[in-house]
Amino acid sequence: MNKYLAPLWQYRGFIVASVVREFQLKHRSSILGSVWSILNPLSMIVIYTVIFSQIMKAKLPGVESIYGYSVYLCAGIIFWGLFAEMMARFQTLFLDNGNILKKLNFPRLTLPIIIILSSLLNVSIILGIFFIFLLFTGQFPTSSILAVMPVLLVQLIFTVGLGMSLSILNVFFRDIGQFFTIIVQFWFWLTPIVYPIKILPDAIQKILLTWNPIAPLMSAYQTIFVYATMPKWDSLLIPLLAGLLLCIFGLSLYLKHSADIVDEL
């Protein structure tokens, strides 16, 4: 284990610098710079709030607040966005870095860590704006907010497991990347993010919560933010197990094929 972790610690400077550089790169040559990082999520929140709570007067069953649906949407979309962003980047992890992987010898594990950290940085900015919105509208779920941490941890385990497996497979079978891009679109609508899960028939609810590991995660976030209550912890068991299995699968793929990855790039 130390064989993998010690070089990572040695390369911590590189990891941090890469995350900072990515953030800066996004806003190079723009006048407002990192303000755009704030404006984008802000506009998303404003649009959902105006359209759903003001114009369409959409209400969630069992929620009094006019902002209920907007909070529901934002909670889902923010964390789905994190999942989708990380997956998109993981898929092409080796392909994007082919050049340096082929020519420089450095700890490969730095690359997924850079993805995780820089995605977390992005999502934390969006969450910051979301929290301010919640505070202003008096919706801030003070009693349940800390529950986000374990749910996020499970989501990260699942994403990293799936992402690493796909990133390795995508080196050898480029179809995987194409295929998964389509899958993600279906996956989004097969997850109760835009619609409440309650509108589905009971049987389908059960199928989704059992076979779609992202569904219980999203539902947990929605419970935390909309209802300000603790999520059902046992519902996280499936995504956690799925995540751990995928991590093991990804790791075994990596151990078996890591030598061939560079040759294939």
């Binding site: 040695q10 390369y11 400077g13 590189f14 610098a17 020519k103 420089l104 450095f106």
Partner: protein
């Protein structure tokens, strides 16, 4: 003590007929094995001691770059082991990790950390890196406004800021302008004097002979020969002569130049070779050596007149010497289709050290401008080195007889 210990390594790739075949083999338990094993390194062993400098030569595809990648650790050998005692710096890909939108200074920190240096070390070394690169105020400009030479200067300064135990140098090491090239070679020489082990990979025989204590010839994935650079070079020349056809292609692709063949095609230049006195094809010649330029011509259509000319050009493409059969008073008349003509030009190769090419033209009258049957640039490429003459500079060998009087 061996700083580089390469012990019986092999490298093979699985070549699948299709991605589908790989998929089946990976995921279907009873699938037939459809892949073929392609072996590029077949059991190579050698050691390089402390302070030694070793050159690795070989044709394209001999496995040099694969070997190098395994030594630097970007790819792993299929079998065998490589032990390295000490820090390796590879001058293979200078400027890796540079991003055009960031300044030179920012890129130094980024690329330096990718090379395993720490922020603190880089801060400390920064003035030294800046001073060596000599790019002035450009250090705080985005790298995209740099000339390629400036980028190389900065990258070289960064990579070589501290003397490594092992330095791996790629053949394509040409860092910026002549002044900086000199400066960078000076630094490499200093490293060597202080005990850095050098591993140089090159096609350039002159470089190997001047820099290395020992040479290893790699051919088709095995060590074909190991020993004193001169001996290995002789063997290499002989080996090239054996498969001559490959020689020509090899030279052209390697120099990165493209050959120009033009003309109306009534006459084609079949073969052009430089031979030594025993009639062997040579690529490496000594200053003043007696050589023969042998050219074979095919006549494709009936023509009235044929003049053959050649020009020897230096590495910059400047003509050093050229003549033709018109000036040599041997113009041929009345040629018939499918006739073959063999020309031989004997001369002393009174050229200075360097890389030269020969362009050949078949035409009428005194220049190829009139009626050009065929013109071939880079028809032959060769190197001249100085083995036994007094050292001199320049592209020609003009030895003086000297007198001097005092008082």
């Amino acid at each position: 003590m061996a700083l580089i210990d390469v012990s019986n390594i092999t490298k093979s790739y699985k070549v699948y007929p299709s991605p589908w075949a790989r998929f089946k083999e990976w995921f279907l338990p009873n699938a037939n094995v459809e892949h073929k094993i392609k072996c590029v390194i077949k059991g190579v062993s050698f050691t390089v001691g402390e302070g030694e400098s070793v050159g690795i030569i070989g044709l394209n595809g001999a496995g040099k770059s694969t070997l190098l990648k395994m030594i630097t650790g970007t790819t792993k050998p299929t079998a065998g082991s490589i032990k390295l005692a000490g820090k390796v710096v590879a001058l293979l890909e200078l400027g890796m990790g540079f991003h055009p939108d960031f300044t030179g200074r920012q890129n130094i920190f980024m690329a330096g950390q990718l090379l395993g240096m720490t922020q603190k070390q880089l801060e400390q070394w920064m003035p030294e890196i800046e001073a060596f690169a000599e790019i002035g105020d450009y250090i705080d400009q985005p790298v995209r406004v740099y000339s390629s030479g400036m980028q190389m200067r900065l990258a070289f300064s960064l990579a070589t800021i501290k003397r490594p135990a092992i330095l791996i140098i790629d053949e394509a090491l040409s860092v910026g302008d002549a002044y900086f090239q000199h400066k960078s070679f000076e630094r490499i020489r200093q490293f060597r004097e202080k005990g850095t082990t050098l591993l140089i990979v090159s096609h350039d025989k002159a470089a190997i002979q001047t820099l290395c204590d020992r040479a290893i010839l790699l051919d088709d994935g095995i060590v074909a020969m190991e020993g004193a650079p001169e001996h290995v070079m002789d063997f290499y020349n002989a080996m090239i002569a054996e498969h001559e056809n490959e020689t020509v292609t090899f030279n052209k692709t390697d120099s990165g130049k493209t050959q120009t063949v033009s003309g109306t095609g009534e006459v084609t230049i079949h073969k052009a070779q430089l031979l030594n006195q025993s009639g062997e094809i040579i690529e490496l010649a000594d200053v003043g050596q007696k050589v023969r330029l042998s050219i074979d011509i095919n006549v494709e259509e009936n023509i009235n007149e044929l003049v053959l000319g050649y020009v020897i050009k230096d590495r910059l493409g400047l003509p050093v010497y050229g003549t033709n059969t018109h000036h040599l008073k041997q113009t041929l008349q009345g040629l018939t289709k499918s006739e073959r003509i063999h020309y031989e030009f004997d001369f002393d190769l009174n050229l200075g050290e360097g890389n030269y090419s020969i362009a050949i033209a078949a035409h009428t009258s005194d220049t190829h401008l009139d009626k050009n049957y065929q013109w071939q640039d880079l028809a032959y490429v060769f190197n001249v080195i100085n083995i036994n003459k007094q050292p001199f500079v320049g592209v020609t060998w003009l030895p003086p007889t000297m007198r001097c009087r005092r008082g």
